[in-house]
Amino acid sequence: MQHRSILLKVLQTSHGTTLISILAAAIVLVPILNLFVPESSFLHVPTFTVTVLGKYLCYALLALALDLVWGYCGILSLGHGAFFALGGYAMGMYLMRQIGDRGVYGNPLLPDFMVFLNWNELPWYWYGFDNGFFAMLMVLLVPGLLAFVFGWLAFRSRVTGVYLSIMTQALTYVLMQAFLLNDFGFGGNNGFTDFKDIFGADVQSDATRIALFVASGLFLIGAYFLCKFVTESKMGRVLVSIRDAESRARFLGYRVEHYKLFVFVLSAMLAGIAGALFVPQAGIINPTQFEPVFSIEVVIWVALGGRGTLYGAIIGGLVVNYTKSFYTGAMPEMWLFVLGGIFIISTIYANKGVIVGVILSVIAMTIFQPLAQAISEDFYQFILLAVVYAVLFSSAIYFDRLYDLAKSRIAATNWFTNLNQAPHTEEAKS
């Protein structure tokens, strides 16, 4: 009975249910449209698109993992890319060992880059990665262990808020530096690529790609329900209370560090899974995944989608990455302007939802495009435009003031009406 009631509860939220239904439908439909609809048809989904969608799902899983710690426990990790990349590297090591003697140098034991570096034997930390089961275990354990050690040290000494964020960013930055080294034994700048087999199947084949897509979707849905279960359990309530008033939760007798550590490690493991699913679909893993910019981008997926709502994180991950693909294909030099705009607008208008953010960022982009063009072409035109924008900005500030004023008036009237009508209840507060 207990079990059933939880399941019911999980499915009660309508947004989440809708999203999960759509995802489930996609998992069923996309393979069908790829395999059984003829290529000439309008409805046919090319394998390339299937892989791209699969990568989006991995990103969405990463966003979900981050939302679990940030949205529900207030831990803003600027280093979740590190856990993603570590999971990816564990998977990459397995895939490298699967190449066997089919590499360029034909060495049955050593991956190509080691032969290239004149190494004679496999480093000890590469042992066991030829075994798929062991490798999958490492996908969970390596990010989990790092998160455990780092989190244990950080939470124990009550490093919170901004300090914690900066430390996580430094963590991924330092890891990036380390993985860039050739001597570190992970392929340096180039990372791992040229994968051949995964669990005995050809990585390049259509069937494998569809299987990977379906796996990504299933893991995402599974992770969604897991996070849902965690956040809606009693522990989830404690987590939220830690997010909102950590000292109070501690005074009430909860071991705050333990809760934080648990959810941090869980989130790191989910990120590791996302990375492991990502690597065979992307066909490469290299230190760019450790870049602080990537990790902070993940944060903005969550922020845009809606922090503290699991389905929001998934939507954010999908939407931003789709936008990114669009811009980097159509006008690559504009993408960082757009991303910057999304950062600013989604934080300022954090409460107004996805659509507003997207619209505003598109507006921001259209504002900045002529400016960016002018700066490279004509200096005087640039100055002129800069002046025009300065005027626009200052008038915007002026109107913003008016808006604030109006808002405070409205708030005042609301307060009066509330006073007259609604009695205070616990529900109204939340």
């Binding site: 900066i166 430094a170 530096q177 910057g340 934080t347 300065a390 900005f393």
Partner: protein, 554 residues
Amino acid sequence: MKALIRITALGIGLLFTLVSFAQSTEQTEETAENQPPNKFAERVQALNGRSFNAKIKAIETLSESKDPRVLPILKAMLDKDQGLYYRKSDDTIVTVEEVEDGLQLTDVLTGEDLGVVGKRDARKIGINNKVRNVLKSAIAVLELGADEKHIRLQSAQNLLKSPDKNLLSLLEERAELEDVASIKHLLEVAIALIKIDSDDQKVRLQAVEVLSSSVEPEAVNVVRKLAEVDEAGTYIEADLKVAELADAKLKSVETKLAMYRATENIFFGLSLGSVFLLAAIGLAITFGVMGVINMAHGEMIMIGAYTTFFVQQAMPNLIEASLFVAIPLAFLVSGAVGVLIERTIIRHLYGRPLDTLLATFGVGLILQQAARTYNSNNVPVITPSWMSSAWAPNGAISFNYNRIYILFFALVVLFSLALLLKKTLFGLQMRAVTQNRPMASSMGIRQNRVDALTFGLGSGIAGIAGVALSQITNVGPNLGSAYIIDSFMVVVFGGVGSLIGTFFGAFGLGVINKLLEPSFGAVVGKILVLIFIILFIQWRPRGLFALKGRFVED
């Protein structure tokens, strides 16, 4: 730009030689009396000997004569662009200048204008590397007679690189006369470097003594070589006594060297620390006063560096003074951008530090991409000549002037900021807002204004840091992001909102970084520093100098 500088340098050089020429011809009249003029002319003529060895011999005999005309002649001979020529018709040695319809000849002996001849009528006197080395040391010895200290020092240093044993007697004479201790020491080392090759054991032992008292790399290398042993453990050097002495002395030399290396490392650490300090002060202010994490801080630094570039573009003739224009201008530009960002974006986000982090990161991305759209490569910022050389008290250690200046500059900035905070009304208001925002507000301090100005101040200091950084690193779109993480580490390590904390944090991390680097490498050093900081905040979660009181929590 570069061409212009080269031309000016060439012009100055030419002027210099002309002046020295003029001087030399004046003095010739006195000295020429002691010497039959023909003999000197003969010696000069010998420079155009048939073989290189003959030329070397001629150079050595020439340099022993006290004639002041020798130096410019030898210099001209060594000069890659100029060179000595001889007229084909009568073998007169001349210097030439290219003119439109041929070569303008000048007699090196008399300075007489010999008119313009066709390009084929005069020929360069060829030299090879061996001749070049002899020339160099001969010139160096001659220049040891110069009145200016820095010319003598320079020539003594050149002598160390290629000591010529035929000039030994001259060198000893000069060393005898020299009264500046450091130059004298260099000369003695040079003499010892020549004497070490002699056959007399006593002379060699003495030379080892001299060499082992010095830390010049040339001397140290010789001592090391003498003390070398082969696989069986016996000395390679045939003369056992010399080898033993060298071996005994080597230890103290190595300790000295290690000490100098450590000093240099600490200096590099302090220099890195000063860069951290410049980059982090602004962060510490905005973080401490407003609780705002400015991730665009690195881009403010970048704006400062680009301002330097634009200033230099605008005043190409005044590069030496450009930095003094760039510093206030960079402060204003970055500060204005800072105020604009504060008024448009950050204003909405007070009390939500993590959101300011994200929003300012977006601002940083946009600014970075704007710089990249302007020019995706690094832009060339020129280092003024007064910043570009190095101060080298001896051969084992040297300090770059730009790093020394930046070190002092960082301290000056810190000090003036401390003054601003302690002594001005604005500083008072800022401190009040830092310590208790609502109370300061009730006392009538206009928070908005203080916030905007504080953010502008922090950004302006970042701009100044950009000017300093443009002198020691490449200026490009990625300049800011390279320093931002280190700056945050400094703030976390030192303690938020405390200038003294930032000071110790910056220099502490700088020195730790540079001390770890030689033995672990840069990357592993960085990892160790991060681990160190993580462990450090176990002990002091709020940094070295934490603000105390209730307001700190949450």
